[in-house]
């Protein structure tokens, strides 16, 4: 016996009623199928890292999504709407077009920032990696001085195998210390040709994709100092805790291993915030 559900030739009320629900159920099924198909297409096109960064960027607190021009004081308060993809940002293009003289003057401030060594020859990603393009066209990727001290002596570093393809803002390598672990973002698109490590001063040597290096989203020259000062502020805020009241200015130079110097802090939380791993 056929169920009444499949008897559309009977009562017109029944037909209309069930027809409406067939439409609803079909809508839901088509929506799910469409999402699955599009997801499969994304994965085949290698867009997983870009999607991951898009989602992670949305989850970052507003203070971590500040535009580079907000950090340097040109556009106070501006939040980046592009996931740090400055290459396609009209505002960035306009501001940079009128800047050469200013940037040259600011560039003289680079190098040492409150005890952190940030060589001017390098370009910096806001996830605390640096890039140095070599004469042979490849580039070294490393962890900046602030990031290095933040992690201290890692127990384990998981680097991608040579031949792996990296995407800008996608995972580059992972680090673990004790039970805390964090992934470090790749500053560039590229292919890994050699791996280094904490002892060699750089972690990866990569070759550019077909269209060459695109460094437009990286911080250089006079942008590095105000950005780093903000990062130091963030770290101090996290370490100070809510219970700390008004404090005197500190001094001295940063130690080489922050977690060792302050073991009681929530280092996994701090790493994930400062390395943009929400």
């Amino acid at each position: 016996m056929l169920p009444e559900l499949f008897n559309p030739l009977g009562d017109p009320v029944r037909t209309a009623f069930l027809g409406a629900f067939y439409v609803v159920v079909s809508c839901l099924a088509v929506t799910l199928a469409f999402a699955l198909l599009r997801a499969r297409r994304d994965l085949r096109a290698g867009r997983a890292d870009a999607i991951r960064w898009h989602e992670e960027f949305d989850d970052l607190p507003e203070a971590r999504r500040r535009c580079r021009h907000a950090v340097s004081g040109r556009l106070p308060g501006r939040v980046c709407p592009n996931g740090f993809a400055c290459g396609g940002c009209e505002t960035h293009r306009t501001l940079v077009a009128g800047l050469p003289a200013t940037r040259a003057a600011e560039g003289s401030e680079g190098g040492d920032v409150l005890g952190f060594d940030l060589p001017r020859a390098r370009a910096y990603h806001r996830g605390h990696t640096w890039v140095e393009v070599l004469k042979d066209g490849t580039a070294w990727v490393g962890l900046d001085d602030f990031g290095t001290r933040l992690v201290g002596a890692p127990d384990e570093v998981t680097l991608p195998a040579p031949g792996s393809v990296l995407h800008a803002n996608g995972p580059a390598w992972r680090m673990r210390r004790g039970r805390a672990q964090v992934r470090i973002l790749s500053p560039l698109d590229g292919k890994v040709v050699e791996t280094g490590g904490p002892d060699r001063g750089w972690y990866l040597r990569i070759t550019p994709p077909g269209d060459g290096w695109d460094l437009r989203h990286l911080l250089t020259d006079g942008e590095v100092r105000p950005w780093m000062l903000r990062e130091i502020e963030n770290l101090q805020t996290r370490l100070a805790g809510a219970a700390t009241g008004a404090s005197l200015a500190d001094g001295g130079t940063p130690v080489g291993d922050f977690p060792q110097a302050c073991p009681e802090a929530d280092w996994e939380g701090i790493w994930r915030e400062l390395f943009l791993d929400p």
Binding site: L5, L36, I51, L229, R230, A246, S247
Partner: protein, 430 residues
């Protein structure tokens, strides 16, 4: 212990304290689970319902939480169809609360109807002339919509995000939310309305019977309006309670203002329409049925005070409270307004279920008394506990509030030479 499962940039209570918070709710859930099991195994003789008092605490609970869960479809329409971006602050909460309310309601219905293994029957042999059939289909479909809306939220958890297929699926699903919001609005409109219409068509119950338009009695439209008015107020109540418990401001004031204002106007409109409907019912519908309206309000404890409380104290007054900007910005006033609105819709559903069945319909009848059994109370409590547990877990592990950190951040330490600050940060500088 669960540090790596928590959102990195949001502070959460230590696990032992969180576990302590969950403990009483888990116990309540276990107690309710036991009671529901008794009802399913031994039958409805475990309850104090009978052949005359067929709708009890559970149906009242269903109607109330379905109305309170309307914030899910209202906020979905506002965000995805009307592009009100400020409502994104509460969309995560709305989805979780909606899912908890609807799944809880269906759970209670399964215990109430019994024989859950035969639940397919209603879909296989539906009676489209019954509003209950429409309610069954709408509730099930809308729960499916809410589950699909909940999926991207769960898959945005950092552990799930590390699996690329899940990540891509939730990303693409999120981009299709406009379809789900439209389907959800369609389903919600009809099942919220049909839940009201179900009582409005009862000619044999003149206390509930209403005239209307075409096949829909006025209670159909009143249920839709009251749910739409109360949904945003319930979201305010939930998020402000969560704020108070966590010591954080989770939602921006602009969002609260918008939701409060929306709820206020809708509540005032509801109070007006409900008053008009009541006047027509008192002066035309009831006399035409051979009753004097006074009869319905001369059966203690159901006096005229219930009607006045429902329309004035719990609809008009919260509407006026939430209408004022200064009162919306005062937490006690805001919470009072939102709580009164939620109490109003709850009382309305109580009147339509319990009072309707309790009142006599024949001269030989007397007022029926119904006191729920402990099994009914325990099942009721379990549904509430389930909602609290689901929301607590979602808040702890999922990114429910996109603007949580800014309000929660400690005042930043000022480092010499850190460059100009944006104006909003300057206010907090030490």
């Amino acid at each position: 212990m669960d540090r790596s499962w928590l959102p990195a940039t949001r502070s959460r209570a230590p696990l032992p304290r969180f576990a302590l918070w969950l403990l009483p709710w888990v116990l309540l859930l276990a107690w309710g689970g036991y009671a529901a099991g008794l009802c399913l195994v031994r039958g409805l003789n475990q309850t104090n319902m009978d052949n005359r008092f067929v709708f009890g605490l559970w149906i009242f609970l269903d109607l109330a939480i379905i109305a309170l869960g309307a914030g899910a479809f209202v906020s979905g329409v506002l965000v995805y169809l009307l592009k009100r971006d400020e409502v994104k602050d509460v969309i995560g909460t709305a989805v979780v609360v909606g899912f908890a309310c609807y799944s809880g309601a269906i759970g209670a219905l399964m215990v109430d109807v019994g024989q859950p293994l035969r639940a397919w029957f209603t879909f296989w042999h539906p009676n489209p002339h019954s509003m209950l059939a429409e309610i069954t289909f709408c509730l099930t479909c809308y729960l499916a919509v809410l589950a699909i809306e909940y999926v991207p939220l769960v898959l945005r958890h950092r552990r799930a995000r590390s699996a690329s297929p899940l990540l891509a699926f939730q990303f693409e699903l999120h981009h299709l939310m406009i379809v789900l919001a439209a389907v959800g609005a369609f389903l919600s409109f009809f099942h919220q309305g049909s839940l009201g219409g179900l009582f409005g068509v009862l000619r044999g119950r003149p206390f509930a019977f209403r005239e209307g338009f075409a096949v829909w009695p006025t209670t159909f439209f009143l249920f839709v309006l009251s749910a739409v008015a109360t949904g945003p107020a319930f979201l305010i109540l939930i998020t402000r309670t969560a704020s108070a418990l966590t010591g954080k401001r989770l939602v921006r004031q602009g969002t609260v203002d918008f939701l409060g204002r929306l709820s206020a106007w809708l509540l005032i409109a509801y109070a007006g329409v409900k008053s008009l409907d009541t006047l027509v019912w008192l002066n035309r519908t009831t006399p035409a049925s051979g009753f004097h309206p006074y009869q319905f309000y001369s059966q203690p404890p159901f006096g005229g005070w219930i009607l006045l409380t429902e329309i004035v104290l719990l609809a008009l007054v919260p509407g006026l409270i939430l209408l004022g900007k200064a009162r919306r910005r005062s937490t006690p006033w805001l919470l009072t307004g939102a709580a009164l609105a939620c109490a109003g819709v709850t009382l309305n559903r109580f009147v339509l279920t319990i009072q309707t069945l309790a009142l006599p319909t024949l001269p030989v009848d007397r007022l029926l008394l119904y006191v729920p059994s402990w099994q009914e109370v325990a099942t009721f409590a379990a549904i509430v506990a389930y909602g609290v547990i689901l929301y607590s877990l979602s808040y702890r592990y999922l990114p429910l509030f996109p603007h949580e950190e800014e309000a929660a951040a400690a005042p930043p330490v000022r480092v010499s030479g850190a460059g100009p600050r944006p104006p909003q940060e300057t206010r907090h500088a030490a």
